[in-house]
Symmetry: D3
Subunit: 321 residues, 6 copies
C-alpha cells in the first residue's frame, strides 16, 4: 500500500495511515473534557491533529517523537487542514520506510559510494592510503557515512547529504588539482573525504535531524580530529605509523576547513591544501544551498524572500533561453 | 648582449647596463658638493646608486621613473651593495625588453589567449556570444588584456597575470559546470572573461605596476560595468540588442564578484552564477597567492613570516614524499 | 466625490469606493464554497476583505496588485475591521488620483524643482554645466525625478521624496560651502544633484514602492554612474568633452556617497567634495528619518519603540517650551 | 629679533636661538666621554642636537621638555641636519612667544569668540540661556576655551583649534536649523557650544599637546558631562533650576556626540538634536582634517600617502580650473 | 489572606484578589457595546482579562499600570485562561505586598547589607574611606540600593538584585585580592561598591522594572560618575579633599567597568584595578544569568532554547552524580 | 663562577662567558675578508657580536641557535654595545644553567606543584578523579607541565609559567566555587588543570620559546582535547570507563575556554562550568599581563606605551599611599 503523503491530503478524506507524531499535548476542552493535540508529519509536510475523548493513559503512551498508525478523517478548520483521530497505535520505526518520512538525496547512494571509493583509490602516500582504508573498512561507520545528512538545514540537509556532498567535492577536487600542480593531491583527497566525517556523530537522524549532545558540546571539527587520531592509533597498533607531519597536515585541513574563526575553525588555513578543501567545501555547499533556496521558495515573483545567511534575496529568473 | 641582473651583481664589477631608475634625489655632501642618490632596478631587485659631482641640470634631466644606460662600478657600502655611477643617459622605453625589468607570467601568452578564445567559443546565447565577440575584436583592448597584471601584489601581480588568471578560471569553470547543471554556463563563462577586464584601465603597468587616477577613483568593478555597458551600446548601434535581464545578470556577476561589501562589491551575489564566479575567482587567486608566498619567503624554517592578509603564517614543509 | 480613507472606516458603513487591491487568494469555506480573501488599501492603511460566493473566473480577473471599485460593507470581525464585498470591478490606474493611494511629499513639487534648477544654475565649470543641462533637458527623466521616492522606507519613502531630499541637500550645500572655501562648489552641487538620480531606475513606484529587477541586481550607485557616463557620451557626441579628471571626480562622489563599504559604496570618499556630499546626504536622511519615526510611532510614552537601524529607541518628549 | 625657524636652518649656520628641547639623554662616546643627545624643535619641525663635553650636573638641570636658549652651529651628519651645541641655558616659558613653538589657528581668535557669543545670544530657553551665561562668565575657563586645541592630531590640532571648531560648527548650525524646523534650536546651539568644552581639561597644551592624566583616565565626554552638572549645580545654588528633561537632553547630546560606541560615546544619539550635533561635528572635523592632510602631505603626485583613519589615499588634484 | 498567584489559577474559579493591571483598552463588541480588555499579573505570570458592560468613565479611572482589586471568574477561552471581571477597584500601591507582584532576591537583604558594610569597613585609604562613608550614610540612597534590581532582564533582574550582585562581587573580591598583591585593594572594593550604584537612578522599579528617562538618556555609567563627583563635592564642602589621582582612578573603574566600547564604556580598562572589577562583574553576572536561564527554561530536553546574548544554547544536564 | 649578564655589560670589558648564539651570518668586509655577525643573548638581553677573520668552516660549525663559550671584548659602536669575539666554542645545552638564559617563574615550582596536587585531591567524581590521577602519574608529561611557559609573550611567558598560571587559577577556583553552589566543582577543577595542558606540546621551550610545527598547525585547544581523549582511552583499557556526558562536559570546557570564536575556540561556553573556567583563565592572564606590562615598560611617565592587545595605554601611577 502506498503512503498517502501529507501534501496530498484533501478535506473530507478517511485516513488509515502511518505518520510521524510530534509534540503531543494533553489539554482540556472548555467543557473540561480531555483531548490530545499533536502534529502528524512526513517528508512532504506537517498537519495539526486532534484526538477527542482522550485519556491520560493514552497520552502517556505516546512518544514525544515517533511513528503512529492512525485512523481518522481530514477536515478544514479555520481554512486549514486538520486531522481528527479516532484510533492511534504506536509503530516500530523499523517497520516503516524512513524514506517516506525524512527527505533524502535524489541521487543513487550505492553508485556515489562506489565512485567515492574509486577516487580515494588514487591516493598513493602509504600513510594516507592506509588511513583511508582503515576508515573504509569500518563498515558500521560507512553505513552511517552513506546515510547521514550534511546539516540540519543550510545545505545537503537530507539523508545521504553527507555522501552526496563528499562525493561531489571529490569529483570537483579531481578536476581542479591538475590546474594547481604544487598542491599535494593525496592530502586534498583525504582531507575532502574526512572533513565532515564527524557529522555522523554530531547529528542524530533517526527521525528528523537534530544535534546529539556530543555534537552540540564538541562539534564535528573537534570530533573529526578525534576520529582521525583514533584510526591513526589503531593503525599504529597494527604497526603502521603515519608520518607525524603528514598526519598533522591532514588534521590541519580538517580543523581549518570552515575557513574563518567565526565559523568555528580553531585554526585558519595555513597550507595550499587546506585552502583548497575550504574553497571546494564552500563552493559545493553554496551551490546546493542557492539552488535549493530558489527551487523551494514559495513565492512567484522574480525574487525569493530575503535569505539572512546570504544577506540578500536571490534572483530566481533564468534569463537565458 | 645579455642583461646583467641586479641579483647577479657582485662587489667590484664594472657596469655598462640599462636599468630602471627610480626616485632620484639631489643632495649635498658634507663638504657642500652636489650628488644624486637614486635606485637602479630590474625585475630581480633594486640597489642604491650614487652619482658624485652631479649638477642640477643633470638631475633635472632624469625622470622620476624611467630607463637609463649607466656606466659605473659596484661596491660594498656598510655591507650592502651600491653602484657608483660615472655616466648616465636616458633610454627610450621602447628600446628595452620590458621582460627584463618587470616580472612576467611564466606561461605562454599566445597559447593561453588561444585557449581562452576557444573556451569562449562554447557560448551559445546569442546576446552573450555577440558581446564576447565585440570584446575579442577590440584589438587594442585585447593587447592590454594579454599584457596587464591582475594586481599590484597579492596574486598574479606580474605582466600577463590578468590573462593567466582569467584563462585558469575559464578552465576551472569548464570543469566545474557539469557538476552543477542548474547553473547557466554561458553567464558563468562570460562573467569569468569580463570580471576583471577593467584591470586594464585600473592599473598602469608600463613601468612598474601602479594605480591610474581613473582606477583609484572608480575601481575596476565600476569601470568593468561601464566597459560592458559601452560594448552593449555599440552592439545596439549595430542593431544587436542584448536581452536586458541577460545583461543585468552579467553585470551583477561583475559587480558582486568580490563577494563581500568590505572587499568593494556594491552588491552581494544573488544568483548561482554570481556565487560560482566569486568562488572560482577567490580559489584561483588564493592558490596563486599561497604558492607564491611560500616560494618567495626568504626564511629557511618550516614556516613563512606572518602573512597579514591571510592572518596566519604559512606552513612550507611538504610532508608527502 | 471625496475618497473615504481606510483609516476613517467605521464598522457598519456602506461602501462604494476605489481602493488598491493586493494579494487576492481563492479559498474554500468549510462547506466547500469558494470565496476570495484580499487586502484593500490606500495611503492611510490596509484592511482585510472577503468576497463570498466568488467564482474562479472572477478570481482570475483580479490583478495581484491594482485598483478596484468595490461595493460592500464594513464590519468588525474578532475585534478588527473587515470589508465584505458585494461587487468588485477593475479600475484603470490612470483614472485614479495616485495621491490618495501612495504617500507623497507635503511640499510643493513645482516650486522645489524650480529652486533646484536655480541652484544648479550657479555652476560655472563648463563641463559640469553642460552635463547638468543635459540631464535637466531630459524631460522624461525629469518627470521621474520629481515623482520618485527616495527609498522604500527609511527616509523620504514617498512620492516626490527624491526631489525633496535632493532639493533640501542642495539648499544645505549652498549654505555650507562658504565655510569650507577649499571645497570645489561645482563638484559638490553636481554631485548632490546626481547622487541618487538612479533611484528613478532602482525603484518602481507606480503602485506601492518596490525594487525593479534592474535596481535589485545592480543598485542605484552603479546605475547612477552608468547614467552619468551615458549623458557624458551623448555630450561627446555633440562635440562637448568633459575633462576626464572632472568626470572621474564627479563619478567618485556618486559611487562613494554611502560613505562605507558595508552600505554598498565600492570606493570610500577620497576628496573633500566626496566627504561633503556623503555628510550632507547622511544628515538630511537622518533628520527626515528621525522626525518621521518620532511622529509616526504609535505609542504614547516618552520613547518610541526600539529602532533597529539606529540601535536605540528615540526620545519623543520635547522638553523646551 | 625674529626667531630662526627649524625649517629654515641650513648647514653651517651659527645659532643663538631659543628652541624647545625634548628627550635629552646622557650618553658615553666610544672614548668614554659624556655627551647629551636631545631634540630641538619649534612649530616648523624638529632636529637632532648634540652637546659634547657634557656633565651629569648639566644634564640633570635640563627639563625633559622645556625651552632653552642655545648657542652653537648647524651641520650635516649622514645627510641630515644636526645642531652642535656649545652653550645651553634654560628659558622660562613665560618669556617666549608660544606662537613660535606651537601651531596655532590662522583665524582671529577675538573675532571668533565675539561671534560665538553673538550666536549663543540667540538662545531663548531660560534654563539653557542661564547655563550658557554661567559658562561664558567663567573667565578662567573661557581663557582656556579660546586657547585649547581640539585634538592632538586628527583635526584642529593646534592652539585655538577648539574655538575655531566650535565657532565654525555654530555658524553651520545657524544655517542648517531653518531646514529642519522640528529640531529644537536652543538645544543644538548649547550642545555645539559645550560638546567639546572638556577638551580644556582632557588636553595639556602648555608646551606641545598631550593628554592630562585626568583626561586620559576619564575622557572629555565624561568630563564634559561633569562640567555641565557642576555649572547647573552652581546655578541651582543661585536659585535657578534648569528643567531636568532639558538638562538631560543637553547632557545626552554631549555624551552621544561621537555617534558610535567604538568612538567612545556611552549612549547613541536618541534625539534629532543629538544626531544634528553629531553630524555637524563630524562634518566640520572631516573637512578640516581632509584639507590639512592634502595641504601637508609631502609627496608630489596626485595622491597623498595612505591615510589609515580614513582607509584611503586622498586625491590631491583639483580638476576644476 | 494569602494571595492567589496567577500561575495557580484554574478554569472556573471565583476570584476576589488584588493584581497588577496593565494596558487597559476600551473596545466595542460587534454589537457596539463597550468593554475593557486588560492584563492582570503578579510575579508568577500574566493573564488576559475582560470586563463587559464597561463605561468610558470606568475606563478613564484605570491607571495604565497599577494595582486593582477585582472580583470575577476565570475561564478557558480558545484553550487559554482568561478572567471575566465583574467589579474592579483601584488599590493604593502602599497597601500591597510588592513581593507578591515583582520578583525579588531569595537572599536575606538585611544580612547582605550588613556584610557589605563590614567588607567596606576594611578600606584604609582616608579619601576612599570617607567617600564610602558618605554614601553609606545617605539613608535614602541606601534604601534604594538595597531595593533596586540590577537589570531589566539579563542578570539579577529582580528586587534586591543590585545588592545581591554587589554583595557577591565584594565577597569574591576579598577572596581574589590576596592572589594579586600588586592590585590596590581599596580601589577595587570601592569600585565594586559603586560600579552600579546609579542603577538606582537608571531603573524604575516601583511596579515592574523599566528605564527612567534620565537613565535611558544618560545611562548608569555617566550617572554613576556624576553621583561620585557629587559626593566628593559634598566631602570637599566639609573640608575633606580626596586626592585627585585617587578620585580619577575610582571614576575610571566605574566608567570602564563594562570592559568594551560596544557595551557602553567610554574608556577601556587601563589599570589592574579596573580590569579586576570588570572581570568580577562579568563573572558574577554571567554565573547568575546562566544558572537562571537553565533553571527557568520551559523545555525538558538536555538543552535550553537558543540564548541570543550568549550566542549558544545552554546544556542543562548535570552529568555528575 | 657567576654568569655575567648581558644587561651588566659595559664597554671595554674582557669576556670569557657562555651565551646563547642566534642568527649567525657569514659576510664579506668591504675588503673582501670574511667575518661572522651574530647575536649573543641571555635572559636579560641581546647584543650584536662580530667575529673577524672567520672561515666558512667555523661558520658552518655554529648552530642557528645554541650555546657558545666565547672569549672577546665589549665595545661601543655607533653608541650601542657590541662584542668582538676572538674565540668561540660550542657548549652542550646540558652543561648550562638554563635559568640564566631563559626567563623563569619567580615562584617555588615544587611547592606550586604540591599545592596543585592537593587541590586536585578534592575531586570526588570517580571518572574525573581517575582521569586526573592518570595525568598526574604520567611523570614525563608532568616534568613538561612544571617547566613549560604559558605563552610566547602575552602572559606567563616564562619557564614555569604554565604551572604558575594553572596553580593560581586552581586557588582562585577553590575560593570562588562556594559563591556559586550550582556550579559543579569537580568539572571546574579538572577543567582548570587541563585547559592549557597541551601548551606542553604546542610550545617549544628548550632554548627560547617558540611554536612547534604540531602546535602551530593544530593549536593547544585541539591538542588538549586529544590528550584528554587519549588518557580516557588508556583508562578504558584498564577497565575504567568515564561517563560520556562527564567526559564531553570536560572536553567542552577545554575547547571553549578562550570564550570567543575569534580567539580560536571552536565552541562557545554552554555550561556554567565552562563560563567559570573561561573567566578565571582570562582574569588570571590579564592580571599577570597588566602587572608585567606596567613593571617592564621602559618609560618614566605616568603611562606606559600604547598596548595594542589591550587597545589602551596603562596608567602606571599608584595613587594610594
Amino acid at each position: 500500500m502506498t503512503h498517502l503523503y501529507i501534501n496530498q491530503l484533501k478535506p473530507g478524506q478517511m485516513l488509515d495511515e502511518v505518520y510521524m507524531v510530534t509534540q503531543p499535548v494533553l489539554r482540556n476542552t472548555t467543557r473540561g473534557d480531555l483531548y490530545i493535540a499533536m502534529f502528524l508529519s512526513d517528508k512532504t509536510g506537517k498537519v495539526n491533529a486532534r484526538m477527542w475523548q482522550a485519556t491520560e493513559a493514552l497520552y502517556s503512551s505516546l512518544p514525544s517523537e515517533g511513528f503512529v498508525h492512525i485512523r481518522g478523517k481530514s477536515e478544514l478548520y479555520q481554512n486549514a487542514l486538520q486531522v481528527i483521530i479516532n484510533d492511534i497505535a504506536i509503530v516500530n520505526a523499523e517497520k516503516v520506510d524512513l524514506a517516506d518520512y525524512m527527505p533524502k538525496t535524489e541521487k543513487n547512494v550505492a553508485k556515489m559510494f562506489e565512485e567515492t571509493k574509486a577516487i580515494l583509490g588514487q591516493i598513493k602516500d602509504p600513510g594516507l592510503k592506509a588511513l583511508v582504508k582503515e576508515f573504509l573498512s569500518d563498515t558500521e561507520l560507512m553505513r552511517e557515512f552513506v546515510t547521514a545528512p550534511s546539516a540540519m538545514q543550510m545545505h545537503h540537509g537530507y539523508l545521504g547529504g553527507l555522501l552526496e556532498h563528499t562525493h561531489n567535492m571529490l569529483n570537483v577536487a579531481v578536476k581542479l588539482l591538475p590546474f594547481y600542480p604544487k598542491v599535494q593531491a593525496d592530502l586534498v583527497l583525504t582531507g575532502v573525504f574526512l572533513h565532515d566525517i564527524a557529522k555522523t556523530k554530531e547529528l542524530s537522524y533517526k527521525m528528523g535531524i537534530s544535534y546529539t549532545d556530543h555534537g552540540q558540546l564538541l562539534g564535528h571539527i573537534v570530533l573529526g580530529a578525534e576520529m582521525v587520531n583514533d584510526k591513526a592509533a589503531e593503525l599504529a597498533g597494527k604497526g603502521i605509523e603515519i608520518d607525524q607531519a603528514v598526519l598533522d597536515s591532514l588534521l590541519h585541513i580538517i580543523i581549518s576547513h570552515h575557513g574563518t574563526y567565526e565559523f568555528g575553525s580553531p585554526k585558519l588555513p595555513a597550507t595550499a591544501e587546506a585552502f583548497m578543501v575550504n574553497y571546494i567545501d564552500d563552493l559545493d555547499a553554496k551551490m546546493n544551498q542557492v539552488v535549493n533556496l530558489i527551487d523551494n521558495d514559495p513565492g512567484d515573483t522574480n525574487w525569493t524572500a530575503y535569505q539572512r545567511p546570504l544577506e540578500t534575496k536571490l534572483y530566481r529568473k533564468r534569463p537565458l533561453k
